[in-house]
Amino acid sequence: MGWFDKLRSKTAKSQEDQPKQEAPSQKTPDLWKKCPGCGETILTKDLVRNLFLCVKCDYHMRMPVWDRVALLSDDNSFVEFNQELKSADPLKFVDSKEYPQRIAEAIEKTDAFDAAMTGYVQIDGIKAILGVMNFEFMGGSMGSVVGEKLAEALERGASEKTPVVIVATSGGARMQEGIFSLMQMAKTSAAVKKLNAAKVPFISILTDPTTGGVSASFASLGDFNIAEPGALICFAGPRVIEQTIRQKLPEGFQKSKFLLEHGMLDCIVHRRTLKKQIAKILHILNNGR
């Protein structure tokens, strides 16, 4: 239990001491980051200030979870629930490492207990429930905890008549949880259906990357499906498809624009205007109130 207590206190501290809206990216270890778009090397602190948009080519780089929360919520309005929900190891899964060790390392690295956080927020003064996935935590993979948190977020939305916004970023299912992780697809999708039945809006934000079991469940089921520019969004990853069909894939395949053109998205929204756009949609859906 020693490490657990330590981490608990550490997380608690990070919640209290650090005004999260002002200084979100506390744990960014590298001084420099290279832009995957143009190759430009950028000072991490400049990147943080620029919402993880490349200062040269505007490439939308992956955004740490707290920065994302800060981006979308009014100052200090985020009140998290289920914060300390932690995964078990139902399969006693071991590959090159034991699964509990992987989780412990991910907790150490990210200061989060799993790959999603959920809570209440104000978005330009509109009350909503916000779920944000965390790619830095085991590739944003969905296991029991992610499934549970998002399902509860959607259920709270349904019973409290509060719109739900979920920002997806995920490599897919958490393989280490085997069948339990697969079933989270059914669980979260059923919860979306419950929200639909309650006639409460669900805005799904698909960011780079949203793939596999996450793309093939709740993330594709938004009343509004919004993507960030250049995000990879797919069921099967490009490498898997290339191996299957033994062909090179066309440029831009499975990127946001491709999905928009194929009718899978309502719109592509730049990160700088994302919050405004969400607020606008919720405002219109609520008879302008």
Partner: protein, 325 residues
Amino acid sequence: MALELDFEKPIIEIEKRIEDLKVISDAGHVDLTEEIALLSSKIEPLKKEIYNNLESWQVAKLARHIDRPSTLEYVKHICGDDFVEMHGDRLFGDDPAIVGGIGLIDGRSVMIIGHQKGCDTQTNIYRNFGMPHPEGYRKALRLMRFAEQFNMPVVTFIDTPGAFPGIGAEERGQSEAIAKNLAEMSALRVPIICFITGEGGSGGALALGVGDKVFMFEFSIYSVISAEGCAAILWNDPNKAKEAASALKFKSTDLLKAGIIDEILNEPLGGAHRDHKKAAEEIKKTILKYLPTLIAVSADNLIEERYNRFRRIGKFAGEEEQENG
């Protein structure tokens, strides 16, 4: 000629020796009746020993056996002539990797939907090895809504390596098609009974698997990823598929223990591919056993229980500590 699996070799060797002895015996040179009887008596216990102790990887091979009965074969045995196949998603096309239609089971109308594999190379190419495109899932959804409209229970047969990873599938929204089925099945107002008959390959399998009852054949598998895929990603080595297979715990016994399925259906000795009719009878028996109870439940209660069935699934750290005392 049935495909031989390596662990079946001892059985096949004895069977071959019996055949040889019979030929000699029938030629009238010597009386080998006793030897033949002795060898024959060894087969049953040997089969039992082998099939009761299969590794995950070996079960996967049985689950993928090319001679394993397919959805349309089960339908033939279960409904006889009383089945009408329905085609097309009314949106794009008809996917041969998923079949469905209306049928009668002992005088009760049902909607049957399942993945469809081929039985040889040619039919497998036509069926895309049972790997559906979005139009397959959308056909399945159309048929489920049809079932709801006419108040018919739905029976699904699950047997796929997974949804097809291809350009067309991505262009037409493979993710959305699967996701939509998961959501819609969770609230379909008629009973849904699911059978995992062979390979339960990930989201492409689950897209027909959100039911009130879920059954699995003894030598079928149900997994979040194939052993090969898992080995390639987590072990960085596709040759570690055997290790990945046992780590993923995808055998029917594992899934029963995990509370994901309701019951394991026994297969004919040596696997469903050795006796299609008997395997089909097992399914029919199970449908007839559970259908009356499910039909008696009101639609509201039915979907509430179905929702809770999937809502409950998940394992968390605190619970584990409690379990361990």
